[in-house]
């Protein structure tokens, strides 16, 4: 217990690192994921193909492999992303945006067909149908899955521990090596840190979910 208090500075640093990485890559992957989702429902064939291929490949690739690619493969091509935060940010954004795309797309799918048909029958174009009728409704259903994507992202930032970024799990590793006898305390202490991010998000998700469910 005392170890936990003594080392709280390091743990807090790790917490902030995890939090900033989560927040930044979350925002970026929301943007890219929306773009991908638009590509996947667009009338332009090549765009659909690219979007689908990207999502399928990334979803079936382990995140560790993507990190590995950024750390070891890109430098041999002469592209050297800064080790640590930058690499982690790139890899996580690349990975998470595929899941954001899928969450949004399932939101779009959950909008009744009648809505789009009604929109078309009063003469709206594709862009108008999507932006004025379908997307506003899709957002509502997509928010809970999007939140769970964010929860997963929070946990996924831990992979950066293996690639030279000092976030919570990396701090955990250092502390456990330093004070092996207090291992369990450190584990539960850091677990609380993670739960402090994920549980509020989870509660928010179920709140939104209930609201959406009653509105339908």
């Amino acid at each position: 217990m005392t170890t936990f208090i003594e080392e709280f500075g390091a743990i807090w640093g790790g917490f902030l690192a995890t939090l900033s990485l989560t927040a930044l890559s979350g925002v970026l992957s929301l943007a890219i994921g929306t773009l991908l989702a638009t590509m996947r429902v667009s009338p332009v064939g090549p765009l659909r193909t690219v979007g689908t291929a990207y999502v399928e490949i990334v979803r079936n690739t382990p995140l560790t492999l993507i990190f590995f690619g950024f750390v070891f493969v890109l430098p041999t091509l002469g592209i050297v992303p800064g080790l640590g935060f930058q690499t982690a940010l790139l890899a996580l954004t690349l990975y998470t945006s595929a899941f954001v795309c899928e969450a949004l797309r399932s939101g779009v799918n959950s909008v009744g067909i009648g809505q789009a048909e009604a929109a078309r029958s009063i003469g709206l174009t594709f862009g108008q149908t999507l932006s004025q009728v379908v997307l506003p409704q899709a957002w509502r259903t997509a928010i809970p899955p999007l939140i769970s994507v964010l929860i997963a992202l929070t946990k996924n930032t831990s992979v950066a521990a293996g690639f030279a970024y000092m976030e919570l799990v990396a701090v955990q590793r250092t502390l456990m090596t330093k004070h092996p006898q207090d291992g369990l305390f450190i584990f539960f202490g850091i677990a609380v840190m993670y739960l402090a991010i994920t549980i509020p998000l989870g509660i928010l998700a179920s709140r939104v979910e209930k609201k959406v469910a009653f509105a339908r």
Binding site: P62, L65, V108, R173, M176, F187
Partner: protein, 356 residues
């Protein structure tokens, strides 16, 4: 062949526009791909470094490299093969306890356990096993995978159980089975059936997560690639061929298992509604993701939707044909309410089921 209701079947003008757009974007993408290939070639990606796969340097034989990769793949699959059954067994046990035990305290304990283990990164659990329990890398990997995935499996099954019509449980209890027996004999088989796709996708997740073993120094595929890269040296010149092989293996295996999940899901959906005698008419949701609607996986019923002639026998997901039986009105209203809840539950299970 419009795949979506978001846009109309194109007329002459729209067709022209479509063609133009198709060409423009195809060319743009080809240009980008060409530029990337050119840039790769400039940096010597296509030089003799690929020889590492056929005729490696340092007097090594190709077979040695491939055998090493095979060993890595074997280690990856071993970890998954050990972890998956344990995770499923443990997860089912927790789900059964949460449903079948009458003591509130035990049920609450189950909930807390599941929520706790689900909320932590797998890597953190692996480090716990490795540094605190002092387990070997293989068992650390297995520990992390089991704890996390068992919790997710428990959550998936809970969603499945919650999605069943209430009558199933009531029927079991009314013929005198205990709650535990009702859960085991009546509810669980149905829950497993409707959640099978989600369970299989979770196994894909488990397989993907074995790659975390790289970080806890378990010699799986990725670690073998790293070791080979370091061994052959020359500033990581051989990274790309090895990486391409490794990535292809991962993606191929995962795609295959994912396809299996989709295939089973479709079979369940089609076979389930066609009625095989004793099959109950409606058991909860047909799929974990709401299947109706816009821009989805190309609606096959497309133009025929709602058409009594061309769509005969096919049921557009968005307009389920109400199955009425005499004296059903009250029952029906309740089932509708239940189904919308079931869908939410199933979605939640699905979300729990994906790792991302």
């Amino acid at each position: 062949m419009s795949a979506s209701v978001l846009y109309d079947a194109p007329g002459p003008r729209a067709k022209r526009l479509d063609r133009t757009l198709n060409w423009v974007f195809s060319l743009a993408l080809l240009a980008v791909a060409g530029y990337i290939a050119y840039a790769f070639a400039q940096r010597g990606v296509f030089d003799d470094r690929w020889k590492i796969l056929t005729d490696p340097p340092k007097n090594q034989e190709a077979i040695t490299v491939w055998r090493a990769l095979g060993r890595g793949l074997g280690a990856t699959l071993t970890a998954a093969a050990i972890a998956a059954p344990i995770a499923i067994a443990a997860g089912s046990a927790v789900a059964i306890v949460r449903r079948g035990v009458t003591s509130t305290l035990t049920r609450r304990a189950g909930t807390v356990l599941v929520e706790f283990s689900r909320g932590l990164p797998v890597l953190m659990l692996m480090f716990l096993a490795k540094l605190v329990f002092g387990w070997s890398p293989l068992w650390s990997v297995v520990f992390g995978l089991v704890v996390y995935n068992a919790a997710v499996v428990a959550e998936i099954l809970r969603a499945g159980l919650a999605a069943l019509p209430k009558g199933q449980r009531e029927a079991g209890l009314s013929i005198g089975l205990s709650t535990m027996r009702t859960t085991l004999l009546i509810e669980l088989p149905q829950a497993v059936r409707i959640m099978l796709p989600a369970l299989i996708s979770q196994m894909v997740v488990l397989l993907k997560d074995t790659a975390l073993g790289y970080i806890v120094a378990y010699e799986e595929l990725l670690r073998v690639i790293k070791l080979n890269r370091d061994y052959f040296g020359e500033n990581g010149r051989y990274t790309i061929p090895l990486f391409v092989v490794g990535a292809s293996i991962y993606i191929l295996i995962n795609l295959l298992v994912s396809r299996l999940a989709t295939f089973i899901e479709r079979r369940l959906r089609e076979g389930g509604s066609r009625g095989k005698g004793i099959e109950p008419p409606e058991i909860g949701p047909t799929g974990p993701i709401p299947q109706s609607g816009v821009g989805g996986p190309a609606r096959e019923e497309g133009a025929a939707a709602g058409d009594p002639v061309f769509a005969a026998g096919r049921r557009p997901e968005s307009h389920p044909i109400p199955q009425r039986r005499p004296g059903d009105a009250e029952e029906e209203r309740r089932r509708d309410a239940l189904n919308s809840r079931a869908e939410i539950e199933a979605n939640r299970g699905r979300r729990g089921g994906e790792r991302w």
